[in-house]
């Protein structure tokens, strides 16, 4: 449920490219939204005091790195739902943004602006749930619906292919699915789930699963992002674990 039914949702678009700023602004037409645009980090930080519901933040700004700005925005207004906008090939940056508190991220590709409003609505729902302390546990029916268009086996096999070099793969969970729900869903398909257990002090879950001869460890970056690495066969374990550890140490050294 959105923060306010009667008041317009206040959106701040932080984007220095005028064309993209215009296209993004157009995604929020109608009485539901009021939209402001900042072309610099300095201007955005000055505006944050005006309390926006949603902040769309471009990674590349002329006067500050987007991740640094994200941290500053979160420090000034933790209640704003921040959505990170990255270029293609910057998915690792996007995952880092999620671990720094961004609600979601978008990648600039053709037609990306057409789906922005929907992403924002989802982020607002997540934000409201966090603010009110309500944890949304999907019903079995909702989970089935969310997974209906997700070919989990295909996704998991793609993750194996992409991590075969030992490099961990950062993957954003499909809309409406969180790590614990994913583990539940995996147990329902023809994938052997070896364990779902508490690993981190935050209470998040890891998933260790096996597909054929390959064992994969999937570790959450946060509730909405995953890091997958091959841990088996044994010759892949050492390099995969080192690579995974290096990425996790960069994102959050407190994770063990």
């Amino acid at each position: 449920m959105a923060k306010s039914v009667s008041k317009p949702v206040r959106v701040l678009v932080v984007e220095d490219n005028e064309d993209h700023a215009m296209l993004i602004r157009r995604a929020f037409r109608g009485e539901r939204w009021t939209v402001d645009v900042s072309g610099t980090a300095e201007d955005a930080l000055a505006r944050v005091a005006e309390r926006y519901d949603v902040i769309l933040l471009d990674y590349k700004l002329p006067d500050m790195d987007g991740l640094e700005l994200l941290d500053k925005i979160r420090a000034k207004d933790p209640s704003a739902a921040v959505i990170f906008i990255t270029g293609e090939g910057s998915e690792e940056v996007a995952m880092t943004a999620l671990s720094h508190g961004a609600m979601d991220y978008l990648t600039k590709r053709t037609s990306y602006h057409l789906g922005i409003a929907e992403v924002v609505e989802e982020a607002l729902s997540k934000r409201d749930a966090l603010l009110t302390g309500e944890e949304k546990v999907p019903t079995p029916e909702a989970l089935e619906k969310a997974l209906a268009n997700v070919h989990l086996e295909g996704v998991l096999k793609a993750m194996i292919v992409m991590t075969v070099s030992g490099r961990p793969l950062a993957w954003k969970l499909p809309k409406g699915i969180e790590v614990a729900s994913l583990a539940t869903a995996l147990s329902r398909i023809r994938v052997e789930v070896d364990g779902v257990a508490k690993l981190l002090k935050t209470g998040a879950y890891y998933i260790h699963l096996r597909l054929g001869d390959v064992g994969i460890l999937i570790e959450p970056i946060n509730t909405y992002g995953l890091l997958a690495s091959i841990i088996d066969p044994p010759e892949a374990v050492a390099s995969a674990r080192v690579a995974t550890r290096q990425v996790i140490d960069r994102i959050n050294p407190a994770w063990t």
Partner: protein
């Protein structure tokens, strides 16, 4: 013919900028189709749709190039 070598970082920067422009151009064509489509005849709309297809094809080519590099 002069040849020039570009670093990986320069190529990545170029790809990033090209994709930025591609996405913007595709977006503006979409704006014309959505907001002015009624004023454009069938040939015009077909031309715009072909323009979008070409932009998407260019994006795919850049994706392939990015993976080759």
């Amino acid at each position: 013919m002069r040849t020039q070598t570009y670093s990986g970082e320069e190529v990545r920067g170029l790809l990033h900028d090209l994709r930025n422009h591609l996405a913007a151009a595709h977006g503006y064509v979409q704006v014309v189709i959505e907001e002015h489509g009624d004023a454009i005849d069938e040939d015009g709309r077909a031309a715009l749709e072909r323009a979008q297809k070409n932009l998407v094809a260019m994006e795919s080519r850049l994706d392939s190039f990015g993976k080759e590099g």
